[in-house]
């Protein structure tokens, strides 16, 4: 049971850490100064969530690993984030599409997680929910602006949606870890979020004059450590200091 809980918290932590890492890449390069500040803010929320989750995962594991050991000293196949969050920033439309798909899932996810029997997860959820609400609002507003903006922006937004759509199915998967913890009242059943997610996405796409892609093949594997080719590069950069200078205080 402890192992399952550890694995489950780690997934949530990895999702947050990897998305935070990606968003951090934008810093100083965003389309407007307001967005530079906005994206850094969203990145910061995710890094904050990752810290709380990794720390808790370390406690549950009970082997003395702290947040940094879990984030910087695990190998590629040990990471269990979903594939969506590791996708490269691409252009601004891709970054926005990635954030929108993820936050449209995470807002109801954290809302439900507040009722978890695990008090620590419930407490983390209470804070994360507020952050996710802002992330969803911010990204949805951009989906609408870009979709209903110029011809070029609409095309870029639609392309970004098509590109990332196959990674959204994974969000709703429940493997044995999730199923057991759902039955225990600890985890959130992702299937229970599907309708709300589709409704949110559909509504925003409608306002944005964008087309919702067909339900189709979903690429998965992240939860069991099968990542995309981009992932090793991300880890190389993120873990560089801890790998080059092991065991030091920073």
């Amino acid at each position: 049971m402890k192992d399952l809980l550890f694995a489950y918290i780690l997934r949530l932590a990895d999702d947050a850490a990897i998305l935070g890492q990606r968003l951090g890449e934008w810093c100083g390069h965003a389309p407007t100064l307001e967005e530079d500040i906005g994206l850094a803010n969203v990145a910061l929320d995710h890094i904050g969530q990752a810290r709380a989750l990794y720390s808790y995962a370390g406690e549950v594991e009970g082997k003395g690993r702290d947040e940094d050991q879990l984030c910087f000293l695990r190998k590629e196949r040990e990471f269990s984030n979903c594939l969506l969050v590791e996708q490269p920033n691409g252009d601004f439309a891709e970054t926005i599409a990635r954030q929108f798909f993820f936050s449209a899932f995470m807002l109801p996810f954290w809302e439900k997680m507040k009722a978890s029997k695990d008090e620590t997860l419930a407490a983390i959820a209470a804070k994360a929910e507020k952050e996710a609400a802002y992330h969803l609002r911010h990204s949805a507003e951009w989906v609408i602006r870009l979709g209903d903006g110029t011809e070029e922006s609409r095309e870029r937004m639609q392309d970004a949606i098509e590109l990332l759509w196959p990674f959204t199915g994974e969000l709703f998967e429940a493997d044995d870890t999730v199923k057991v913890l759902v039955a225990e009242g600890v985890a959130v059943d992702p299937a229970s979020i599907r309708d709300e997610w589709r409704e949110t996405v559909g509504k925003v796409f409608g306002q944005a004059t964008l087309e919702m892609p067909e339900e189709g093949w979903a690429q998965t594997g992240g939860r069991s450590g099968m990542h995309t080719e981009h992932f090793g590069h991300l880890l190389t950069e993120m873990q560089y200091m801890q790998r080059a200078y092991p065991g030091l205080k920073w």
């Binding site: 890449e25 389309p31 407007t32 967005e35 850094a40 990752a50 947040e67 870009l146 200091m241 920073w250």
Partner: protein, 329 residues
């Protein structure tokens, strides 16, 4: 006739300006704040726009060397702190552009000046961040030097600038302590890290002293800015304050300041420092520093890559407005 009439007009406005100028100076001498709608001499306005926009540009360009380490920060806590710091710099840029807008200089216009190379920004940001210790060194030295410059600006005669500086200084002093604490942690952790910190100090020390600008005997703008109370201390006075505050901090870290001529004058209590290489300062200002071209290229690329996003936001807001208009009709 026509010309004469014009000449007369000019003479009248000169007299009026002289009277208004005297009243303006009296207000300044009386430590009153000048607000955007008050009359002000053109030179005062220009000096402020130049100074505030240079300051804003420095915040924006300064995001690049620090941003260079966000993805490689060694711990999550440091990553979060660095993200928050760089975000603060962006925020400072925003307030400062807004303060410049109150003087009639639009953000677009100022940004154009930055991208075309017409406007200057602090020369320090043309130096590269090569190791993680550089992030601490920027906080400690660069923000430390910026604070020395900026604390007197909280009392600047122009209201919006002075108010922006009060908030900025609070955040900068937090950044400075954070930078110092980062270096202290490294210096206490291992010899290897301490060497990394020493190397960062060796590279950032002299450029930090140059941040105060040319020596008083060569400074173009000092005297008038002092009279207008835009500036309260001379470049050399501020530089000395910085050296006096920083040398003991370096010693506490167990580091050596890379200046063979540095010595404490027991009588004055000041640390006397060696000759600054002004040819390097001039060269970097002129555009030939280690990263000038890269910094400009990064800003231009962000501007060009983001053009379609800004156009879309504008097009959308116009569509929304016209739809609202149709509904109202």
């Amino acid at each position: 006739m026509y010309t004469q009439a014009l000449n007369n007009l000019e003479a009248v406005s000169d007299i009026e300006d002289a009277e208004r100028g005297a009243a303006f100076q009296a207000r300044i001498d009386n430590e009153e704040k000048i607000e955007p709608n008050d009359w002000m001499p053109e030179g005062y306005r220009k000096t402020l726009v130049r100074q505030i926009s240079q300051h804003a540009h420095s915040e924006i360009v300064g995001m690049l060397p620090e941003g260079n380490w966000i993805t490689r920060a060694p711990t999550l806590k440091r990553k979060a702190a660095l993200l928050a710091k760089v975000q603060d710099e962006g925020g400072h840029g925003l307030y400062l552009y807004s303060a410049a807008e109150t003087l009639g200089a639009s953000r677009e216009e100022l940004n154009e000046q930055l991208l075309s190379g017409k406007a200057k920004y602090s020369s320090i940001f043309n130096y590269p961040t090569l190791t993680w210790a550089d992030i601490g060194a920027i906080g400690w030295l660069v923000d430390g030097a910026a604070i020395m410059n900026q604390i007197p600006l909280c009392r600047c005669s122009f209201g919006p600038y002075s108010r922006a500086m009060i908030r900025i200084c609070k955040e900068e002093s937090f950044h400075q302590r954070q930078g110092y604490e980062l270096l202290l942690t490294m210096c206490r952790s291992s010899e290897e890290q301490k060497e990394m910190v020493q190397d960062a100090l060796n590279r950032w020390w002299w450029p930090s002293l140059m941040m105060f600008g040319p020596s008083d005997k060569d400074s173009q703008h000092s005297a008038q800015s002092m009279a207008w109370k835009i500036k309260r201390f001379t470049n050399d006075e501020l530089r000395q304050k910085f050296v006096d505050a920083t040398v003991p901090q370096a010693h506490y870290l167990g580091l050596t300041i890379p200046d063979a001529d540095l010595k404490l004058n027991e009588e004055t209590g000041h640390w006397e420092y060696g000759e600054i290489d002004w040819s390097e300062f001039a060269r970097v200002l002129k555009g030939d520093g280690p990263c000038n071209k890269q910094r400009m290229k990064a800003r231009q690329k962000a501007h060009e890559d983001g053009a379609w996003v800004r156009e879309a936001a504008l097009a959308y807001s116009e569509k929304k407005k016209s739809r609202r208009g149709q509904q109202a009709a």
